[in-house]
Amino acid sequence: MEKKLMKGNVAIAEAAIHAGCKCFFGYPITPQNELIEHMSKRLLKLEDGVFVQSESEVAAINMVFGAAGAGARVMTSSSGPGLSLKQEGISFLAGAELPAVIVNVMRGGPGLGGIQPAQSDYFQATRGGGHGDYYTMVYAPANVQEAVDLVQKAFDKADEYRNPVIILADGVIGQMMEPAEIKDNDNSANYKKDWAVTGKEGSHNILRSLYLDPHELNIHNKNLTKKYEKIEANEIMFETAFIDDADIMIVAYGTTSRIARSAIREAREKGIKVGLFRPITLWPFPLKELKEAAKNTKNVVVAEMSSGQMIYDVKLALEGSKPVSFVGEAGGIIPTTKQILEAIELASKEE
């Protein structure tokens, strides 16, 4: 497929189909509606396509659970309040070790919040989100092309680790139009799913998250922990820019990282040496990599479209070694280049 101008939500949907995802269950919520609409338009025309608009977010994620258990590549998408409802099913997916891709096109919260872009669900996404000891992988795209690439990667990683994977896109990524190229990238044949419930003759596969014997559950938890450690060791993704000579390091992800880049250019024109650290995986978070990148800087500024959530991971990474300040807006307000520049200037005056 050649490069085309596409809305983020549509590009994410189309990228999933090109990664072999023929199965989608969803419920309307702004600002991700174009995603579910595109899925209905495309999948209902495919012979092996499955599309169901469910009665609720809860039902959608449990349909995902069924389809994932049946061995299909499957996706659902939502935003803030819908993700809260999906947490039950995400916890069950993690417990039963079923692969699925879940897209959150973030809006402002808490509660019904608003429909404008935000990065307010970082805590929820990176700390499991539902009940019990578990993690989901979390990818945070910063442009439409990257959203396409990460969605396709997400299906492979979900299958590889038998774990739910979250695409944490802010509302800007979902709503923005950018040129993107979507390649055929269906690697599902690489993942044998002999654990799936397929009704194969004589098969007695059981998919469950219930372990009534605490010793057995403890072993299950330890096995999950081993898997999470493997993901932490192998799957961290991040990007740096202008970091080699930087006195100040900005940490930002998604849309905010793009505003941070503009602020960095302006700061450098003023002679302030600023660099960017952009986590692409929010879980696993690039803890060691961030500390290493900040090694020669004096201080660190965290920019987010929230009241400050990722900042706790940044502080965890730095282990108190650098002063950390915050700049951001919540509720659907996008921080401006000027605001971030001011935060940089303030940080540059600190000793």
Binding site: N62, A67, E201, I206
Partner: protein, 244 residues
């Protein structure tokens, strides 16, 4: 004369159900029907949360465990991926008629080609005898200690009647297993329900009136009598919907 054999589809795992509970009978009926229809080897069971949560240990087929009340949604996901396999949910009254009511209504409304065996014993068994949506008025449970009062909780919900008002489903019936003639009728209804699925006609639900001697505080024999004397007039047996 034919020998009375153990059903092939039921595993040798010791069942955890309480003595006198009718889950064992209903399991056997489902297994017998699936064998007679030659589909026991490629059925997929969706287990609920409640007493039958580990039913997948007893049915020798693929099994997937749903969150509380979500079995119809999970069954939808499974069936859409494997439309040629027989998919069925086995759910109790708390699971199906309370926390999972939205899923229950919409699986019927979509006329999803799956079968539900709905075990109604008018109480939450697994959690220790709390009030269910199908608890009778006046019935004492651990959360209706003075009897389900029409003032506080109103009366029980009628699933077979309710689901039969929806345009979708192919077959809806209520049966009971409190005596042998009714057990035979229950089996016929269960067979019919699966036949509708095999014929691709859509959703089928069989509500089975069942006992809970432990939480009702009765002997198994008294419990069977209680179904006959108290449940049958509140939950009339019969076929509520049947697509021709």
């Amino acid at each position: 004369m034919p020998n009375f054999n153990k059903t092939k589809m039921i595993t040798d795992v010791t069942m955890h159900y309480c003595p006198g509970c009718t889950h064992g009978i209903i399991h056997r009926l489902v297994a017998e029907v699936l064998e007679e229809l030659n589909i026991n080897d490629n059925a997929i069971l969706v287990a609920p949360v409640g007493c039958s949560v580990i039913a997948y240990n007893y049915f020798k087929c693929d099994g997937i465990e749903a969150a509380h009340g979500r079995a119809p949604a999970v069954a939808t996901g499974v069936k859409r991926v494997h439309p040629n396999k027989v998919v069925f949910t086995y759910q109790g009254d708390g699971d199906l008629a309370s926390i999972g009511m939205a899923e229950t209504v919409h699986v019927a409304s979509r006329n999803e080609n799956v079968t539900t065996i709905f075990v109604n014993n008018a109480i939450y068994g697994m959690t220790g005898g709390q009030m269910a949506p199908t608890t009778l008025v006046g019935q004492v449970t651990t959360t209706s200690p003075y009897g389900r009062a029409s003032k506080n909780e109103s009366g029980p919900i009628h699933i077979a009647e309710m689901i039969s008002t929806i345009q979708g489903p192919a077959y809806v019936a209520r049966v009971s297993v409190h005596d042998v003639p009714n057990i035979k009728k229950a089996k016929e209804a269960i067979k019919k329900a699966f036949q509708y699925q095999l014929d691709g006609k859509g959703y089928s639900l069989v509500e089975v009136l069942s006992t809970c001697p432990t939480n009702w505080g009765m002997s198994p024999v008294d419990a069977l009598k209680w179904v006959k004397d108290n449940m049958l007039n509140v939950f009339p047996l019969g076929v509520y919907k049947e697509e021709k």
